[in-house]
């Protein structure tokens, strides 16, 4: 078993090389599996907690949340713990169990790298009521002010994304205007010195709301707590008439 120090010219046998690689690989693999299993519950708990906190952040008034993903018929069903669907929707409920709104993931290109954000959509008001940046590498001190600047955050207190009458698209897609020129509830005031990043946030929101809100709004009933029966008719909470 012991390997005597080989002469400089002598090749070690293929067996000793294989033994070393396979042996080390095996032990290393076992160690990794062990650590993975040991840390997994903690990591998953921390992830879920971070997500829950972000959902509550973008849906003021929410006290509990539940994640949904669409099934093959487009119906939203409660998502499994490990769902990685792109279409996942987090519903937030207040203390009385009523639906406050939905939190949606969105991502797009910023100035430096992809920006990932979560936005809260109030179903009754048909407006965005909160935006939280989950991941960004924007320039510190300039671009990253979109996360901290109170003036910029104020854009998302009630950003109008009402559906058009036919329910197929958004009446006024979100647009970004020059700082201080916001006139309509669907406009976002840009941020001085962070033009590209604030434009990026606006366009991420615009693309995501245009693509997802009409479909989601048509199935709002799926998110109502408990009493959602299959084949439920259109929800009655959006005061306007609903297209068939």
């Amino acid at each position: 078993m012991s390997t005597p120090a080989p002469l400089p010219t002598a090749d070690p046998s293929a067996w000793s090389m294989a033994r070393a690689l396979v042996g080390v690989g095996l032990v290393c693999g076992l160690l990794i599996v062990f650590v993975y299993e040991a840390t997994r519950p903690t990591i998953e708990r921390a992830r879920a907690e971070a997500l829950r906190r972000a959902v509550f952040e973008v849906l003021p008034g929410a006290a509990s949340s539940q994640s949904f993903e669409p099934d093959e018929n487009g119906r939203y069903i409660p998502a499994g713990a490990n769902s990685s669907s792109e279409e996942i929707v987090h519903a937030g409920y207040d203390t009385d169990g009523r639906l406050v709104g939905l939190a949606l993931d969105a991502a797009g290109m910023g100035y430096q790298d992809v920006i990932r954000l979560l936005y809260g959509y109030a179903t009754e008001a048909e407006a965005i009521i909160g935006v939280q940046v989950l991941e960004s590498r924007e320039t510190p001190g300039l671009g990253d002010r979109v996360e901290s600047d109170p003036g910029f955050q104020a854009n998302f207190e009630r950003l109008d994304v009402s559906l058009a009458a036919d329910g197929q698209t958004i009446l006024h897609p979100i647009e970004v205007v020059k700082p201080g020129e916001k006139q309509h509830p669907w406009q976002i005031d840009g941020l001085t010195g962070a033009t590209i990043t604030s434009n990026a946030i606006g366009s991420i929101l615009r693309v995501s709301t245009l693509a997802r809100l009409p479909a989601i709004h048509a199935r709002l009933g799926d998110f109502e707590p408990k009493d959602s029966e299959p084949g439920d008719s259109e929800p009655g909470d959006s005061g306007k008439e609903v297209a068939p």
């Binding site: 001190g141 300039l142 010195g193 590209i196």
Partner: protein, 341 residues
């Protein structure tokens, strides 16, 4: 055998000496800068004077400290650091807090010059290193401009000038856009006469193109500046911007505006021609000037910032050794033997 032992002296180029000493050249550069400096102080008043004095003092003190730190004899006497300080001061916006001016001076001389081994060993122009550092560190303060000929400019100071160290600059009520920013973001052009005489907002020394050209002409006449560098820059900037203006007049400014706005004049005449950072051959200097000109036009036309002279010169500084390697004068055996002797 008695006699002087000849020791082979090994040193880097240049081996041919023009007869000018560093001190004479530096003295003349100061002289050439005087009209611009005086005009800057007249335009912007007391704050300009304070910025210039602080810039000079911080550079001089840093040079002195750096020499002591590295046990070298003081190199204050050759005057090069005074030029650095003066030029650096001229690139700053007039209302910049004095503590920022001092920080830039220390960084420029310590990191841009002393770190590399002092005068002659620095690849980049220290004054521009200082300005580039400030531009990246304090982007808001470095782009807050005050208009020239303000009322009571000799009797009062803007609040931002005297901001205590490490404090934010209080932005005064009126801050005017520079002509370049107005052109890039607002589509307005300033009158050429205003640009040439300096009656516009901008850095201290970027205002009057004519006075800078006057100083440059003085240096060229005394053979203390390589005229090929500014000529290369001006030609390319004028040519390229004329072409762009011809193709798309609504989005690109005419050549006259491009030449006289921003820091182009100061940069081309006094910064790019820094002997340390520029190539040694005539053809190399033309190429180096053309490169700066092209970079300036590219940054101004398509970059995110309105002004690009500083970055253009710093980039060309970095390329300059490669230009020297690429363009070598032909060596004649005779000359080499004489030069050796």
């Amino acid at each position: 055998m008695v006699g002087p032992t000849r020791i082979l002296e090994i040193r880097t180029s240049p081996h041919l000496l023009s007869g000018h000493r560093v001190e004479t050249i530096m003295f003349n550069v100061v002289l050439a800068l005087l009209p611009t400096t005086a005009w800057a102080i007249w335009c912007f008043g007391l704050k300009a004077l304070l910025v210039l004095v602080t810039a000079l003092a911080s550079c001089l003190l840093t040079e002195r400290a750096a020499c002591a730190f590295s046990d070298r004899p003081s190199s204050l006497g050759d005057g090069s650091v005074a030029i650095t300080g003066l030029l650096y001061g001229l690139t700053l916006p007039p209302g910049l807090p004095l503590w920022m001016v001092a920080v830039g001076g220390v960084i420029g001389v310590a990191m841009g010059k002393a770190l590399f081994g002092g005068l002659g060993a620095n690849p980049f122009n220290p004054a521009l290193v200082a300005r580039a550092f400030l531009q990246a560190a304090f982007p808001v303060a470095m782009t807050s401009w005050l208009p020239p000929f303000g009322p009571d400019r000799f009797g009062s100071l803007p609040a931002s000038t005297l901001a205590p160290p490490f404090s934010r600059a209080v932005v005064d009520g009126w801050s005017g856009a520079t002509p370049l920013a107005a052109s890039k973001f607002g589509g307005e052009l300033s009158a050429l006469a205003d640009l040439a005489t300096g009656a516009v907002a901008g850095s201290l020394g970027e205002t009057s193109g004519l006075l800078i050209l006057l100083g440059g002409a003085w240096l060229v006449a005394r053979h203390m500046m390589n005229w090929r560098i500014p000529v290369g820059i001006f030609t390319v900037v004028a040519g390229a911007s004329a072409l762009l203006h011809f193709v798309a007049p609504e989005s690109h400014a005419p050549p006259g505006f491009m030449l006289f706005s921003g820091g182009l004049m100061l940069g081309a005449v006094f910064m790019a021609t820094d002997m340390v950072g520029s190539p040694v051959t005539g053809a190399g200097c033309l190429l180096y000037g053309a490169l700066i000109g092209a970079l300036v036009v590219v940054i101004r036309a398509w970059g995110g910032m309105p002004e690009g002279v500083m970055y253009a010169i710093l980039l060309a500084n970095a390329v300059s050794p490669h230009i020297d390697r690429w363009i070598r004068p032909r060596v004649f055996g005779q000359v080499a033997a004489e030069g050796d002797g």
